[in-house]
Symmetry: C2
Subunit: 488 residues, 2 copies
């Protein structure tokens, strides 16, 4: 099977690997993005050179300010523009004159606002393309790139560097995913808020991220797309190397109406695009945050070889809901062989559930927990494990003991963060040893708690439904790869 | 319409309002619940007297230990027993002899483990009922009651006092909801882990909570129930005073199998019970945590008079997903009248969305945000509002500025916690002024952030889907009340 490179393929490295960035519209006014964007670039420790441009200011964020692009003494790879829409064409002309290689147009007031804006948008595309310059946006919230620590973003956030890349047709949703994912311990390689996509389309970013070795998982927030056929071909190619996870919005009438005023011309037929997602082998997330849950699964876990799940819980209720969730997601919860039941009999009190789900019946012994998981993980008939309610300690536990003036030393081996870490590390070893996915589940949604476990290499989810959905979709992805292998 | 009191109705106040509690099986061994339960009772500041019983210890948690119940010098209302199953009948005999009014049997090893356990369970019921003693469990994780600050629970948690009451057929799920809800700022009035329900059933607790004036919303985690008819009659009666929110598990084959080994005999036919939930007018939560989301909505907001939602977002993507979520939940997103568009024209930059959803297009002005919400809230054609992406400030914002050594004073009015609080308080005023529900949505799931906004009286959810589901179910509840009013 031979794939042809799309004709859209350009080198986007001036945007994602710039050695020198300039900002037109830098400001000392805290209610302007010209004030926040340089703050983001500085606070995130950009590795290249930053030049701020404003004809009337002397200093911004302690940096010398230049009157115009012409005065900047270096070759500028990327310009960020946050100025009223009317003045953007003139600034882009300036960029072309100064041989700038790419520009991010933050400003709104283009195609999304009607006829006049659309004309202006055509004009800026003409200027950029005429000058051989790449154009992100307009109406974008910017880009992030871990390799050069560049955070040219509108909201004040500190993304964590890592291996997830994200293309978003909504700046707010995209930057929130970046912020919220980072709080949970998920790291990002590259991010772009694609804005109106006047020059560079979602597909062109996808092609670039697909070839980028630091992007291990690609996430896409998509409102609409006209080029369904191209999307299918491209995803088919990219997904052989890395999973492509898509959240599609504008799936209702009200949503489509809203999307029109958001990024009007992008919206194609939802039904056609939904069929395209399916045909392409992209993984479809059912919620926005679900993209992050899936990313974590793919990034940290081996793919399940089948759909048979072992469930180990601290409390029978979790076992019931986990079983429900698995079956509803298309997974199976097979019985345990008698030998395994006998082995676990040696580990747990006599009144344990003696089947799958394995209920630890509230037995407090942090050493026994990973041993029970191992008995299940080693079974040939089990492809994945959901471990619920005990890998994550509850930090409030220690507050109780603090109130009673018992320090961690006394309560340590059971309720402390250290105990959580030890269990999580042993579970990570089991993942490696048996090459099977094991996920942790707790009811808490505290990103800090989820992060602690993820740092040990174990994905942690706040709901059982999420865990089952992630495993089911990882299995479907694995199957889609097998099909290609078999065909060839 | 006349309702008859169920014959099951007993006064459960010895369990939920005890003046004196004793614990049989108190221990100095940190891996025993006899160690943790007294810690919980002490740390949560129980208002009554606590007596610890153990024949061989002198002191536990600094308290004098009694050798037997006989030695306790006070009338004991409630005994908590955490001892091996075999010895529980003997301890209950002791309770009866000493005129104890109620007992919580924490121990497992009863009906859930087979024939022998079932016999033992029949025996303890016989002893308790013969002695006129109420029996919680066995195989329970305990109870919480805010009125006397009693936290007789197995896991170490600090529940927040408040007005939500919870009956759970899973101890772990119940106590986790308590812990996680409290982290989010949700307060609880009464909680019971109903265990095997050998003596007191879910329905008897429901009846008691239904009559309890401090329980404003009732949550139920249900695996199974045989008395569907009785449930329908009881909920029909209770829901006229307060909403009853149910999460039903064991809805799949695998889940039902798991439920059998968890609390075997409780499980009736799921399909019959599902019909009963619908018929009763109980509100069905679609996820476990969803029970808390619904509780918050009912507790803090007026009921929506209709299903027409105004959406105000900071970023168009949120508007698209919010519109999708509303339509899929059965709500409507009507257009804005031209006068309102003109009024908002005065408040926002010219490129705002000029319709519903109202997109604040990233405009940073914390004073304008509530003004825009008010223009939508005052419309007769709008029954509820979803406000997304701006009521909750992002705490990471301030870390950026800290890195750059700008203190909150300089950035204060825009990105600080103080600004978030001001906006949330103004939104709360709008809820009161227009008697319409307004909910905040952010992508973060950090319980601390959600709590900050809830403390101002504004429910905050981490997803748009949740917000739409809560409003839709509040509307359905309102409709079910109207139907009763019309009928009578």
């Amino acid at each position: 099977m031979v794939f042809h490179m799309g004709t859209t393929s350009r080198d986007l490295s001036p945007i994602f690997e710039p050695k020198c960035v300039a900002m037109i519209g830098a400001s000392n006014n805290p209610s302007k993005y010209g004030w926040i964007i340089p703050a983001n670039i500085l606070a995130n420790g950009y590795k290249g050179k930053l030049f701020l441009i404003n004809p009337t200011e002397e200093k911004i964020w302690g940096l010398k300010v230049y009157r115009s692009l012409k005065e900047v003494p270096e070759q500028v790879d990327l310009v960020v523009i946050s100025r009223p829409a009317e003045s953007v064409p003139q600034h882009l002309e300036e960029c072309v004159e100064n041989h700038v290689r790419s520009a991010i147009v933050i400003s709104g007031g283009f195609k999304e606002t009607g006829k006049e804006g659309e004309k202006r948008e055509q004009e800026i595309v003409r200027i950029a393309r005429g000058g051989g310059m790449l154009l992100v946006g307009p109406n974008t919230m910017g880009v992030y790139s871990a390799s050069v620590s560049l955070s040219a973003l509108m909201p004040p956030i500190l993304p964590k560097p890592g291996e997830v890349s994200l293309i978003s047709q909504s700046g707010n949703i995209g930057t929130n995913l970046l912020a919220f994912g980072s709080e949970q311990g998920i790291g990002f390689s590259k991010f772009v808020s694609s804005g109106n996509e006047a020059d560079i389309s979602t597909l062109e970013y996808l092609e670039y991220f697909g070839q980028d070795s630091t992007s291990k998982v690609i996430l896409m927030y998509v409102e609409g797309m006209r080029e369904g056929r191209k999307f299918v071909d491209l995803v088919k190619r990219v997904k052989e190397k890395k999973p492509v996870i898509v959240y599609k919005s504008a799936v209702s009438k009200a949503g489509s109406r809203a999307a029109k005023s958001h990024c009007g011309a992008l919206a194609g037929s939802t039904r056609i695009f939904e069929a395209a997602i399916k045909q392409s082998g992209a993984i479809r997330a059912s919620t926005i945050n679900g993209m992050l849950d899936l990313a974590v699964g793919f990034l940290y876990l081996p793919l399940p070889k089948g759909k048979r799940v072992g469930i180990v819980t601290w409390g029978g209720g979790y076992g019931v809901v986990a079983s429900d969730s698995c079956e509803l997601a298309g997974l199976e919860v097979p019985p345990l062989p008698p030998e395994t039941v006998q082995k676990i009999d040696q580990l747990l009190p006599s009144y344990w559930s003696r089947g799958n789900p394995v209920d630890l019946v509230g037995f407090i012994n942090r050493e026994v927990q990973p041993k029970v998981i191992e008995e299940v993980a080693k079974l040939n008939d089990i492809d994945a494990i959901i471990a619920s309610g005990f890998i994550l300690g509850r930090s409030v536990g220690s507050s109780i003991f603090k109130l009673l003036r018992k320090d961690e030393e006394n309560t340590g081996e059971i309720w402390s963060d250290r105990a959580t870490k030890t269990v999580a590390e042993e579970v990570r070893n089991l993942i490696e040893k048996y090459r099977k996915p094991i996920v942790a589940v707790t009811l808490t949604t505290d990103p800090g708690t989820l992060k602690k476990v993820l740092e040990c290499g174990v994905p942690a989810y706040s709901t059982l439904e999420t865990a089952a959905e992630v495993l089911a979709k990882m299995y479907q992805y694995k199957e889609s790869l097998n099909r290609v292998e078999k065909r060839e």
